[in-house]
Amino acid sequence: MHPGGDRTDGSRPAEDRDQGFPVPSALLEENAEDLYENAPCGYLSTLMDGRIAKVNGTLLKWLGHRREELVGHKYFSDLLTIGGRLYHETHFAPLLRIQGEVNGVALELKATDGTRLPVLVTSTVKRDEDGEPLLIRTTLLDARDRRTYERELLRARQEAERDRERLQRLATTLQRTLIPPAIQPVPGLEAAAHYHFASTDEVGGDFYDLFPLAPGTWGFFMGDVRGKGADAAVVTSLARYTLRAAAVSDPVPVKVLANLNTALNHQVQEDEPFFCTVIFGLLTAEENDVGFHVALAGGGHPPAVLLQADGNAGYLPTPGGQLVGVVPDAQFTTATLDLRPGDTLLLYTDGLTEARTGNRGERYGDEAFLDFARSLAPTTAPGAVRALTALLDSFGEGLDDDTALLAMSVPPGERLGRPTGAKHS
């Protein structure tokens, strides 16, 4: 301890003072005891059990206590608000015991006049030569301004959280308008669908539907708009309602897509054309009421898969076909098939085949998917969607895009107009 008090520049040893660096007379009045008592922060020394052993004048002034009320009688936690006391006992004290110091923790002191003083508390444990803890030294800084700032930060964070919740609700509501809440029942057909959302706060770009057109005929589609979010939702919404309206006026699949193409082609959005990939299909009940005739048209969409009653599975050739909405006279490809008892028709979006499943980020791929489909056949629409949902779950983080599944099957038990063919062994 140097009775001369503090050094002004903090770098020169005390001896230097005699060599021509005059010390202002006011500083000669400074001494360690006075600095302790009237420091611009509160000082507190407590025994290891928290009992107050020494306290400086600044802290006494803040609290309105007399020294003899505190020293030897009160514990540090007695100075805190109830909330602060519980925090002290459950967090602060255990940390101090284990780490030997706790730095910059925010607590509130209770003054005798009932006011609360926000402080930042730093404590260190002083040990004896053998390393045994002797006492706790605590510094308390007035943190009123900082607390105001923190409250402001907290308020901003809560506001941001509320906005985010609102956004999520909006996205979820919008999403629900883009895919049917439940697939409408079609007599003699089992149908099932699944939608994997890659994000909870953005509207996905995949869409599908299955809906009645006329007695004995139904339309269905599966599509994918590039991108996601509000821009994609505009296209998705337009595509979905155009497809349904177009199918009513002329249900021939290739014409439905041509109508959609015209509708999208007339729209641009910030100089970007509206476009999507789609498979549109028309289901017509067979005359004997067993099975369906299916006519498909594809525009740039991954081909549908037929899982047959006999255990075979294969892609339905709707290869190529141009993206819908890019050029005025887009060409689309068509395919037809008969969906018989035990057969399952599966439509999906490329989130499935483009999921990154390899160690080095390789994509799942068309081949692996076809193998998987073969392993399922013969199956049913609910069975296929269940198995594929489990497959998607197994991709974990690798599944980074929205993915939609729509499956339709004719139950194997339907009155058989003809043999279904046993699975080849």
């Binding site: 109830i82 459950t90 004290a93 607390r147 409250r151």
Partner: protein, 266 residues
Amino acid sequence: MDVRKRNRVRVSGRAGGPVVMLAHGFGCDQNLWRLVAPALEVRFQVVLFDHVGAGRSDTSAWSPERYSTLDGYAQDVVGICEELGLGPLTFVGHSVSSMIGVLAAVQEPALFEKLVLLTPSPSYIDDGDYRGGFSEQDIDELLESLDSNYLGWSATMAPVIMGNPERPELGEELTNSFCRTDPKIARVFARATFLSDNRADLPKVTVPTLIAESARDTIAPREVGAFVHAQIPGSELVTLDSTGHCPQLSAPEETAEAIIAFVQES
């Protein structure tokens, strides 16, 4: 569900010895037992774990529905006991975990040989003749603080602020896990803890029980220890010469001795 990963279960100590499970309370994690565990490991097989939402538990397993009452935590304790399959064990629960242990032992008494309740309180709020030590208003104040201001912030900031470059051995582990909780999770756990009332469960305890209270504890005062002792049939009460709510840190030797003596008692 991988229970061991979910609760970061650690088994150590003497294989084949009596099994002692140590459960931490609100605020920190299994590190709270670090001064007591070595003495126990010499004699017993020791099971440590983190409650879901605390320490290095798998927070993806956390949900406000499951963990807004102590029952969710009690289910987890039962689940860990069943998963480990080490036979009936002595459950040592600190603070709120003592009531979690009571719930688990009432539900599945066959899984528990004995219970040690360290600084227990079945209800923190004064109610008629019962003195929990806090008024409803006090607890509201704590919850309000947790909900709206600094307590949540400190818990978040603590790991950043408390880095200790001079003592790297404490570094990583402490700064990353000890006493750190997501404020959202801490809030739910605080509500479950401080608004619980398990007084009616105490008489249903059928396994031998030791109550170890702290001589001076503002959270669980001695009146509360006496109440728990009176309510659990045949229980024993020991008052540790310690100050504060965490005698396993402030008086580790004495705490360990009390646990050892009770486990070895026949």
